[in-house]
């Protein structure tokens, strides 16, 4: 069993959820999987099931309706897990700061390990963030 954990870290699977962003960061995450940047060569696979994921990519300021869904997804991901906040609005709220239906960044709800700034974060920055997340995952 201990061995499996070692190999899990070689191929982290990514879960992506949008909590109210403008789609800009989401299409850049999609562009990360495209041939130009190709995250899959690092062993990263985009998955739809939270129970198989290791890295949680979140985009967007936390809207009220996404609140419960984000918490549910976060609790369904098995340990060890790393949360990456992609985009300025995910880190602090960005332009959407203090709007009436927004909670100013996801760190008000779940612990965040890596903050990736940028509006919209370029694939280069997202890859930097995932590489950093891998280092953290190794230590956990």
């Amino acid at each position: 069993m201990l061995h499996i954990k070692r190999f899990l870290k070689k191929s982290p699977w990514v879960l992506h959820y949008n909590t109210g962003s403008c789609n800009g960061c989401d299409i850049e995450i999609l562009a990360c999987l495209s041939p130009r940047y190709d995250l899959e060569r690092l062993g990263v696979l985009n998955t739809g099931n939270p129970k198989q994921a290791d890295i949680f990519l979140v985009t967007g300021p936390l809207t009220h309706r996404c609140h419960d869904r984000l918490l549910q997804l976060y609790s369904q991901i098995p340990d060890p897990k790393v949360v990456v906040a992609v985009g300025s609005c995910t880190c602090t709220g960005g332009v959407f700061k203090d709007m009436y239906n927004v909670n100013n960044g996801i760190d008000s709800l779940i612990p965040v390990d890596v903050y990736v700034p940028g509006c919209a974060s370029s694939p280069e920055l997202i890859m930097d963030g995932i590489v950093k997340a891998l280092e953290i995952l190794e230590g956990k």
Binding site: Y17, N18, P35, T63
Partner: protein, 361 residues
């Protein structure tokens, strides 16, 4: 014996980029009723535009309504406020604005086609189209300095001029893309898994297109000649070689083809603009504060976008109303879902190219 089963799709799903929830009521394989929940990404931008931001900043804020048609939102807002402030822009500014609008349309359509291919189970095609899309993204980055959020348009003009290097890059990349789109048209008309199995699936009839107020490629695929580019004289679209593209049956196959042909037309427009660009000012100076109201319509990649602005002579606007293409099309989409197979639902959804961050604001 018939038994109704409810199958949810969303809000988190691998084939969805953004949170939206559909509840399909199915009898055996057929969808009989659809319940939708689209408000996951409601942030309250309309309120913030009138209370938090001054009218000069609002252009940058409304760009963040949607990342896919960011330039269209800024443009519609800017044209509206220029109408109130009575600013006349010169030809060069208009052409540069159309150039960015059309580049945005190309990349958005390519993304939609890639998504449709992925949802119909053709992963290789997804990779190929996403690879081709990088050509347009490169032009956008070279011109505006950012890949997605351009922030290119400002009140009175544009923020950056095109350098000769950018022009050269744009010409080579567009010529390359033109060839690749020709190739894609061949694949989308003859290949079984992307094209032929989607004939007569998810169809919208000509009459329904009018009854449900369909817009953009969804309406044009059904043969309805609905395009704001032909109905509006704010931007000189007719001078740069705009042509209406119509389909026949309104199914997924036709929608894909209409998108591909529109990309061809947009490439032609971009090339015309780039070869006919003259020297000139890129920013017009203006004075005063806005007072009055304006209605602006513009064609986004997904259809008509509408801005209502009301200003009362102060730095803050009194009311900003944003109406986006997907917003008014949802009743039509629900109608298309009824009667089709559940297995086709993700592909139909992807072919609508829905934009939820637009819808919920």
């Amino acid at each position: 014996m018939k038994k109704t089963i409810t199958i949810p799709l969303g809000s988190q799903h691998i084939s969805l980029l953004e949170p939206v929830r559909f509840n399909f009521s199915c009898e055996n394989e057929k969808i009989t009723d659809v319940d939708y929940n689209v408000g996951f990404v409601h942030r309250g931008i309309e309120k913030a535009c009138t209370e938090k931001f001054e009218y000069k900043q609002v252009g940058y804020v409304v760009a963040r309504v949607c990342g896919l048609c960011a330039i269209t939102h800024t443009m519609a807002y800017t044209l509206g406020i220029e109408h109130i402030l009575n600013i006349k822009t010169n030809k060069k500014i208009d052409y540069l604005r159309i150039l960015m609008l059309e580049l945005d349309r190309i990349h958005s359509h390519l993304l939609c086609l890639a998504h449709t291919a992925e949802n119909s189970g053709f992963e290789g095609m997804f990779m190929k189209i996403m690879g081709d899309r990088e050509l347009v993204m490169d032009i956008q980055e070279a011109i505006s300095g950012n890949r997605v959020q351009f922030d290119f348009v400002c009140i009175g003009g544009v923020n950056r001029d095109i350098s000769t290097e950018c022009e050269k890059l744009a010409f080579t990349n567009l010529a390359l893309l033109d060839k690749k789109v020709d190739d894609l048209i061949g694949k989308f008309t003859s290949n079984w898994s992307t094209a032929l199995k989607y004939k007569n699936i998810g169809a919208l009839s000509y009459d329904d297109a009018f009854n449900f107020n369909a817009l953009g490629p969804l309406a044009r695929a059904a043969g309805a000649a609905i395009d704001v580019r032909a109905e509006s004289s704010i931007l000189p679209y007719k001078e740069v070689g705009y042509k209406m593209i119509l389909g026949q049956n309104g199914d997924i196959y036709d929608r894909n083809l209409v998108r591909l042909k529109e990309i061809k037309n947009s490439i032609l427009m971009c090339q015309n603009i780039l070869s006919g660009l003259t020297e000139g000012e890129i920013l017009v100076k203006f004075k005063g504060k806005p007072n009055g109201e304006s209605f602006t319509r513009l064609e986004a990649p997904r259809g008509e976008i509408f801005y209502y602005l009301n200003a009362n002579g102060t730095n803050m606007l009194q009311r900003v109303r944003i109406k986006t293409p997907t917003f008014s099309q949802i009743p039509g989409m629900v109608e298309i879902f009824k009667g089709s197979d559940y297995a086709d639902a993700p592909a139909i959804l992807a072919s609508f190219d829905p934009c939820m961050s637009c819808t919920a604001k």
